[in-house]
């Protein structure tokens, strides 16, 4: 859906007024936009793939997601702390923000529309398995769903289980298996499915 013309006009009037009072400049807006545009799920994918091959990195990532993001070249200054949720053979995490749309933007970019929708925000905590099924995801028997509602200062990212059939794969090959949806927890990576990434 497009914004209404009066709100498109409001944005420009607000920006003009703030510029006239010396509060913002066009350069600052452009800089912040370019930083936001550069963040993308490939960074999260690399963090996950490295955790699959490097136990020390894995422990660091789980202990201090913010520092791990910094180590990946993401400036976390002014950004909320990153928490990483470790999937196990018995627990699969699904991230939602029922109250608004909290999402680890600094690390993986803009959230998709569906994540911010009333349908996802209301249904993920109430019928997580039905929501997973909409993404074609069925969990193995005996695996619990743990829905993580982002209600406060942290932003959450899932560290999924390493898929079967990837023994001996390089970090680069593993990175290619991890998508944005895997980092939110609505689907699970698998060895047969490489993620196509926009340039």
């Amino acid at each position: 859906m497009d914004p209404r013309p009066e709100n498109v006009a409001l944005l420009e009037k607000l920006v003009a007024a703030l510029k006239a009072r010396g509060i913002v400049t066009e350069e600052e807006i452009a800089l912040r936009q370019s930083i936001a545009e550069r963040a993308n799920p490939a960074t999260g994918a690399r963090m996950v793939a490295r955790a699959w091959v490097d136990p020390e990195w894995r422990a660091f990532l789980l202990r201090d997601g913010t520092a791990a993001a910094e180590a990946m070249g993401v400036s976390m200054h002014g950004n909320p702390p990153l928490g990483v949720l470790e999937d196990t053979e018995s627990v699969h995490h699904l991230v939602v923000c029922t109250l608004c749309s909290c999402y680890p933007r600094a690390i993986i970019g803009y959230p998709p529309h569906w994540y911010k929708s009333a349908a996802y925000r209301s249904r993920a905590v109430r019928e997580p398995r039905a929501v997973l099924a909409e993404f074609g995801t069925v969990l193995p028997a005996g695996m619990q769903v743990r829905v993580v509602d982002s209600t406060a200062d942290y932003r959450w990212m899932v560290l999924p289980l390493r898929p079967a059939g990837t023994e001996g794969w390089t970090e680069e090959q593993l990175t290619a298996l991890v998508s944005r949806d895997h980092l939110v927890g609505v689907s699970l990576p698998n060895a047969a499915q490489k993620v196509s990434r926009a340039a």
Partner: protein
């Protein structure tokens, strides 16, 4: 600021309150866990109280916990064993 009141593994109850009915508020405790019992998973750190930040007034640092709840009892549906993990501030929790 005093030491964190709750420890990992401790059973807690979320206060059964709806202060937003009294006045305009900014609360980060979802309605569906108010009055519910959960288990402290861990303490996440201390952060300034968002209820104050929203109104641009001095915000005290408060302990923030990750608290685990059984999911099926919340709406009387769902799969046994499924859980909800929610960040909750200390002042919303009491000993169970």
């Amino acid at each position: 600021m005093s030491a964190a009141q709750f420890t990992p593994g401790q059973r807690v109850r979320v206060k059964d309150a709806r202060p937003e009915r009294i006045a305009r508020m900014h609360l980060r405790t979802p309605h569906y866990v108010r009055g519910r019992m959960g288990t402290v998973e861990r303490m996440l750190g201390t952060f300034p109280n968002p209820e104050d930040i929203a109104f641009n007034r001095p915000a005290e640092p408060r302990a923030l916990y990750h608290v685990l709840f059984d999911q099926p009892p919340v709406w009387n549906e769902g799969q046994a064993g499924d859980t909800l993990l929610i960040e909750l501030f200390e002042h919303w929790l009491e000993e169970a």
